[in-house]
Amino acid sequence: MKKVIKVNTEPCIGCSLCSLTCSVTWNHAYGLNDSHITVNRNDLAGLFVVEIFDTCKRCFKCVEICPSSCLEVVEIQENLDKGGHNG
């Protein structure tokens, strides 16, 4: 079993704190283009979709920081492991 991040995008408020925290954790700098998680924002429609990339390091800092409880650490069987999944 491995721990991965389950995403529930519905409560997402579009703050990108997940992405910024990932960026500074792994790149030592804040940005939106080089993190392992991103929030795809359609600002005009108010729609936000969280996407976790295969490169995710599973440090789970994004789960800790998310103020809307969109992210959850779950255990899955190893052969299903894709870094994270949009549940």
């Binding site: 408020i13 910024l20 500074v24 030592h28 940005g31 080089d34 600002d43 920081i65 103020p67």
Partner: protein, 639 residues
């Protein structure tokens, strides 16, 4: 360690030249970033008597020093110029994602000079900065402008600051829209942008920013996040956003009902207060790096405005149009908000201008023959029609587009009903209903009648008792809150009367104005959960670790004071007089029509006395309002 600096893009639209300006560490130490840097630039670059809508005015966007980081709520950008509405410093602060993208592109600011011969927009993609024709965009609203530019640049993530038709038509309170729903709203900066034939500034950055002392900065970011989440206002603000204030304002009788005629509009609690938030919204929408998400995503599912969805239910339009014009339902207020967002109008000034016209209609000073249609209180169709007339300067809209001060000069016998201070329309708080540091701030605010430059960090809307009317307001927090409040002990003792649980309003005003100046310079949001949790000591630690520039709580607050004084010097240079800092006569001459029990009016002698005490607290001359030489020397502003 290398000295810290930030870069600004300096664009002269007259000759289409683009330069890069470096803001050195010594300037940052004195002015921090954001509002501080823009104040310095406007003071230095806009000469006395400059036409606000002429080539000589300068428009400056300046991101807070922390904007783009993961520090909670650090996303703000100050925009400044000489205001076409007041003739004084025009300045406004906004969040969303625009500032962060600018910082990721490698810049902390954009300076716009001159005037383009043809409509244009500025595109910033990292170091690729271009002036592009906006011929095809001129005449579009801000939403369509945003969609057009994103398509043209083939990038749906590009952030757009734009003007709608109001800015193009030089409406004196035109906003600069920040994305579809946010804005640099106050003081008419959209008209300045329109006067330069600049339709939009599109920004996209793929870079990143790193703290000088990463470990120390991240520790402070974590502590700040915890402090904000521990604020007694956090959960409530997360649930209701600024709509939280709609009930206490009603209870105080401090709403600007029907252009400040009534403090408690009928049906308010049932159809416009925070009680109805859940009927129209199930989720919040945040700016970048903000855990609070004070704005609501509104969806109207039935009735006349069925199908309308937008980011809204912010206290400004709800009180401005809901109370000011007595529009008695959220769907209609949301539709009106949409019109303001699309056409690019400051919602405070627009609501106030229409409330002014509605009262003139009520009193027979404006006739249906002149307007072209009736203007009854609560008529949403009339409000929408009038907003579009204002934005396009058609009919009576052309007069109201000048703001209430100028409009009242053109409409006989209307001056008494023009509710402004120094030409800026007063927003939501009626000082007769609640006299506090916050309402007093409308008088001393550097940009005129406005409530957002002296938010009191311990403001508590549950209490309204003034044991010494005018001089104090109640401080009802517990001892723990008092002890943890981040303020030097000697200043704390001079501001708070612990035994009587009172706050000294003039002294708290000075402290709050300096602190808000700091907030607007570092890029933090002034919402109560943040303002209460993050004080100058924390900001100094954050600033030092992020930039490597050694700052203390004292030097941070001194910078805030320097910024406020510099903005004041701009206004004094333009001819501001102490007597300009006064409420409209209505607040002194009459009580609200529904205040039958107390018949509250302001006492002009007492108001003048509090102003005198404020000037004294500021170290400004009590008769002229001019900063003393000692004060200017202390702040390094004597040259």
């Amino acid at each position: 360690m290398d000295k810290y600096f930030v870069r600004f893009i300096d664009v002269d639209l007259s000759n289409q030249k683009i330069n890069i300006l470096t803001i050195e560490e010594s300037t940052l130490k004195d002015y921090l970033g954001g509002a501080g840097i823009s104040a310095r630039i406007i003071y230095d670059e806009v000469s006395l008597g400059a036409d606000p809508l002429g080539e000589e005015n300068v428009l400056c966007f300046s991101a807070g020093i922390f904007t783009g980081t993961g520090l909670a709520t650090a996303c703000r950008v100050e925009a400044s110029a000489k205001s076409p509405l007041t003739g004084l410093i025009g300045t406004s602060n906004s969040g969303n994602y625009w500032g962060a993208e600018l910082v990721y592109a490698g810049y902390h600011g954009v300076i716009i000079r001159g005037k383009s011969k043809e409509p244009c927009y500025l595109s910033i993609f990292n170091d690729d900065i271009r002036i592009i024709s906006a011929e095809a965009l001129w005449g579009l609203d801000s939403w369509d402008t945003m969609t057009f530019i994103r398509k043209e640049l083939c990038d749906s993530d590009v952030q757009i600051a734009s003007i709608g038709q109001a800015g193009e038509n030089l409406v004196k309170y035109a906003s600069i829209q920040n994305g579809p729903y946010d804005a640099w709203g106050r003081t008419g900066l959209g008209a300045v942008m329109g006067s330069k034939n600049l339709k939009a500034i599109a920004v996209r950055g793929t870079g990143s920013i790193h703290p000088k002392n990463e470990k120390a900065f991240l520790k402070e970011v974590e502590l700040s996040f915890k402090a904000i989440k521990s604020s007694p206002f956090y959960d409530a603000f997360k649930e209701y956003g600024t709509m939280l204030a709609t009930i206490p304002y009603y209870n105080f009788g401090a709403l600007p009902g029907r252009n400040f005629q009534i403090g408690k509009p009928e049906g308010w609690m049932e159809n416009r207060s925070r009680k109805v938030v859940k009927q129209y919204s199930r989720r919040g929408v945040a700016c970048i790096s903000c855990p609070i998400a004070c704005a609501h995503w509104v969806e109207v599912k039935e009735g006349k405005y069925k199908g309308l969805s937008l980011k809204d239910m912010e206290v400004t339009p709800v009180i401005g149009f809901g109370a000011g014009c007595d529009i008695d339902n959220i769907p209609a207020i949301s539709k009106i908000t949409e019109i303001c967002q699309r056409y690019g109008l400051d919602m405070v000034s627009a609501a106030s201008s229409i409330a002014f016209a509605m009262e003139l209609y009520q009193r027979g000073l404006l006739k249906v023959e002149f307007i072209g249609f009736s203007l009854e209180w609560g008529d949403d169709d009339a409000v929408i029609k009038l907003l579009i007339q204002i934005a396009t300067r058609k009919g009576i809209g052309d007069i109201l587009a000048e703001g209430v001060r100028e409009a009242s000069k053109k409409i006989p016998e209307s001056e008494y009903y023009a509710m402004h201070v120094k030409g800026l329309e007063i927003p939501m708080i009626d000082p007769r209903g609640r006299w506090s540091t916050w309402s007093f701030g409308n008088l001393t605010n550097i940009r005129g009648g406005d409530h957002l430059r002296n938010r009191n960090p311990v403001e508590n809307l549950r209490f309204n008792e003034n044991r010494k009317p005018y001089e104090t307001e109640a401080f009802e927090f517990d001892q723990g809150m008092y002890d943890s409040f981040d303020m030097p002990e000697d200043i704390k003792e001079s501001i708070f009367d612990k035994d009587r649980k009172q706050v000294d309003i003039p002294r708290m005003s000075k402290w709050s104005e300096d602190l808000i100046s700091v907030y607007n310079s570092v890029g933090l949001c002034i919402r109560p959960p943040v303002l209460q949790a993050i004080g100058p000591s924390a900001i100094a630690r954050l600033y030092s670790s992020f930039t490597g520039i050694d700052m203390t709580a004292e030097s941070i607050m001194k910078a805030g004071e320097r910024i406020w004084n510099l903005q004041k010097l701009f206004n004094l240079r333009e001819g501001e007089k102490p007597e300009d800092s006064m409420y409209p006569d209505r607040f002194f001459d009459e009580a609200q029509a529904d205040d039958l029990e107390y018949q509250r009016k302001l006492d002009i002698v007492k108001v003048k006395e509090i102003l005198r005490l404020y000037l004294k607290a500021r170290g400004w001359h009590e008769d002229s309002g001019i900063p003393s030489i000692d004060k200017l020397n202390e702040l390094g502003l004597s040259k």
